[in-house]
Amino acid sequence: MFKVMNATGGYGKTTIIHDVSIQIKPGEIIALLGRNGVGKSTLMRFITGLIPAMAGGVEIDGVKAPAAVTKRARMGLGYVPQGRFVFPRMSVIENIAVAAASNGHDVKKALKEAMDNFPILIPKANDLAGGLSGGQQQILALARALAIKPKILLLDEPTEGVQPSIIDDMAGVLKRVNKEQGISILIAEQNLDFCLSFAERAYVMERGKIVTQMGIDELKGNKVLQQELLGV
């Protein structure tokens, strides 16, 4: 069980998320919905520890997560940020290898798994990550997050600027690692179709707060509800 309890945080003096609580069962896929600027990315950064908590905290499998970002990562928190942030002047292989090595995993095995999951990376293996296209960088960021063997994976706008065929690949891999390795996934997205295709439950945020949660079927097909919630 993964829990975020009463998360309150922001930048400097400005509070952006207020008292947000969510729970994710092992192996569950949860969508985090809401318009731009409602605090989805801030919540993600709160969970990773990249912004300090003004109040509240995070619990992984019943253990309270320490404040340090590094320690949280080693407890099994994988993070794919919005904007990817691959290491630009390192090769594709190095991006994945450094993630595996930093968590004491076998580098060769991690690389093989990554290449099996994402064959699109094979021809680019020795290229610098900064020279990849947006979609390829996104895949690399995902492969890097998986290389730490996470228990829970945080995905922030993973389809932004990615072409549809790659989006399909990505959805396939996410479904598979979720099923085979039991990785829980929390995914913040504006691309509704992508979320609807495999999430089970959704939290909806507005102005820094969770305003509602619902089953995914409730949201599917209800265009009025979609428009109202996402402002499209």
Partner: protein, 605 residues
């Protein structure tokens, strides 16, 4: 206002005056040797002041101050040597000569730095290289100018001392009198600098340090201000150099050495960055310390002490001695930001707003249209603005929408000039402004509000508005009238003296919008103005934008569909840098193709 507050406000006048009086009294009683040494401390303080002007006020750490100091010193001394036979008073000769030469050298270097819009680090390093270049050049340089022999093994010697009498070849002053003369000259320079930094010029310089982009977006030619400020600092350094030449009667290239160059920031830091008086405190303290240590048993440990002091200052006492005293004093004064704590929601007074907009129209002329013709911007392989040709006219607000990465903000930034267009034209009215600098476009009538609130954090709310208004009116009274009107329109009167940094995020957005209105823009570009605003504030913003659109051309980039619906204007959907669809919001909401790109459905993507 209490006595303490008044005193605080005038501290920069009162305390230096007291210090000058004390120094003059001391000059009459000191041992001549101490007076001789202490004179050099004051000169170094003056050199420190020149750095404080560019660094503490202008925001650029220049390591070229000793270069201007040295050049001013050499030039002033050469002139003094040659004039000694004709005209006695060496101060009247050497000081202007040093000031002019220092200012000219600084202007040349400053032109390269500011007009090529160099980064801060590169500027610092270039100024450092300039000093090193002079240092190595002067090693073997030899030149005879009239009676003066520059360079060679003996350096420049035979520089006359400080002479006040006008008769040729008069005797130079005694050390104590030299000390008093140098104190008086330095005091004059200090008070002039103090006045300059309080003046409108100084206010703009402060704004440039706080946010150079915003200052340019207000229509100020920042490069010109930076260049003038740099040249002024060069003049001050040149004066210090000239005094140094007269004081030591001898100059050699070590004046340009690395050690000298790096001592200057220490004076400034010890005394307090940006305080103007600080460098004198720092120089006297460090000079006094070396004097005392040098004479005692700990002789020669000055370097060690200086090093430790510098490390500790950087780590623990960033604002130096005067800064620390200032912080203590502030604690005993009423908090100017008190009003920010009990803030109420902003409410736009439409009647006042209309009056302001009508006045603006009367003063700045009718609204202008904004037109782009095949505008193109490329970043590597990505083309966020792809051949966009559009015309925006006054009457109703225009909204640009589109999914993330559609190129909305990039289009706006390319129009503004924050991004240089690769191809295509931008017109404001009939002027083609595509290649103009940002400030020039603003002067042509463009008003821009970026996504993040850009306000000058250390300035009060009213000062923020005033500096914006002053950019257009160029008259203090008119700027006061305009900013008073805008502040009451925003309902921020109670917050007038609050520092902008103490305002909430939403209030900073309003202040920023207010600053744009102060410019009486004829074309207004707003990038996500509703971001971070509450529902109530968003409603008020909608009222403001609709009213504004009746008097000017308004283009808004926004994500918030609800907000755009309330604007009741024309909507353009951008996708992959191109115009994808347009019309009013209700039609677009029913358009399946638009929904597809928003929802990421793949049919049309």
């Amino acid at each position: 206002m209490t006595k303490s507050q008044k005193c605080y406000r005038l501290a920069g006048l009162i305390f230096p005056a007291i210090a000058v009086l004390c120094a003059l009294v001391a000059a009459g009683m000191m041992e001549p040797y101490l007076a001789f040494v202490a004179t050099s401390w004051i000169i170094f303080g003056l050199l420190g002041l020149s750095l404080d002007v560019v660094w503490g006020r202008g925001g650029l750490l220049s390591l070229g101050q000793t270069a201007f100091y040295g050049l001013g010193g050499y030039f002033g001394s050469v002139v003094a040597i040659n004039m000694a036979d004709l005209f006695g008073n060496s101060l009247l000769v050497a000081i202007p000569a040093g000031a002019i030469f220092g200012a000219m050298a600084a202007a040349v270097l400053g032109y390269i730095i500011f007009y090529s819009r160099m980064g801060l680090l590169q500027s610092t390093i270039l100024s450092y290289t300039f000093t090193l270049l002079l240092w190595s050049l002067t090693q073997t340089f030899k030149l005879e100018v009239g009676n003066a022999v520059i360079g060679g093994d003996n350096g420049l010697s035979n520089i006359p001392g400080v002479v006040l009498s006008i008769a040729p070849n008069s005797e130079s002053l005694e050390p104590n009198a030299v000390f008093a003369a140098v104190v008086l000259v330095s005091a004059a320079v200090y008070y002039f600098t103090y006045w300059l930094m309080k003046s409108n010029f100084g206010k703009v310089i402060d704004c440039i340090r706080l946010d150079v982009e915003k200052t340019e977006l207000l229509g100020y030619d920042v490069r010109k201000y930076q260049l003038l400020n740099f040249a002024y600092s060069g003049a001050v350094a040149g004066i210090a150099g000239a005094l140094f030449g007269l004081w030591s009667n001898y100059l050699n290239p070590s004046i340009f050495s690395v050690q000298e160059a790096l001592l200057v920031p220490i004076y400034v830091l010890v005394g307090g960055l940006g305080t103007l008086a600080g460098p004198f405190v720092g120089a006297c303290l460090i000079g006094g310390l070396s004097f005392w240590l040098g004479s005692g048993s700990a002789g020669g440990q000055t370097t060690l002490m200086l090093g430790v002091v510098l490390i500790l200052l950087v780590l623990f006492l960033k604002n130096g001695i005067i800064g620390a005293l200032n912080d203590i004093w502030l604690r005993f004064l009423p908090d100017v930001n008190e009003a920010a704590k009990n803030s109420s929601a902003v409410r736009i007074n439409v009647a006042v707003l209309e009056k302001i907009l009508q006045q603006a129209e009367a003063q700045a002329g009718p609204a202008k249209e904004l037109k782009t013709d095949k505008l193109l911007k490329r970043f590597g392989g990505v083309i966020p603005v792809n051949n966009v040709s559009r015309i925006f006219v006054p009457g109703q607000p225009y909204s640009l929408i589109g999914p993330n990465g559609a190129g909305k903000s990039s289009f706006l930034k390319t129009c503004v000039g924050i991004y240089q267009p690769d191809k295509g034209e931008v017109f404001i009215g009939s002027d083609n402004v595509a290649q103009m600098s940002i400030f020039h476009k603003v002067q042509k009538g463009m008003g821009v509000k970026n996504q993040k609130p850009q306000v000058f954090s250390e300035l009060s709310v009213i000062q923020n508005l005033w500096i914006a208004a002053f950019s257009r009116t160029r008259s203090e009274q008119d700027a006061q009238v305009v900013s008073d009107e805008i502040i009451s329109m925003l309902g921020l009167n109670k917050h007038s003296d609050v520092q902008a940094s103490a305002l909430s995020h939403g209030q900073q957005q309003w202040l920023d919008i207010g600053m744009v209105l102060c410019l009486a823009p004829r074309v207004v570009l707003l990038d996500e103005p509703a971001a971070g605003m509450t529902n109530e504030e968003t409603r008020e913003l909608s009222t403001l934008v609709r009213t504004l659109a009746r008097y000017t051309t308004v283009v808004v980039v926004e994500h918030d569909m609800e907000f755009i619906r309330t604007l009741e204007g024309h909507v353009t959907v951008l996708h992959q840098g191109e115009v994808f669809a347009e019309g009013d919001i209700e039609t677009l909401r029913l358009n399946e193709r638009v929904l597809d790109i928003y929802l990421g459905r793949s049919k049309h993507v």
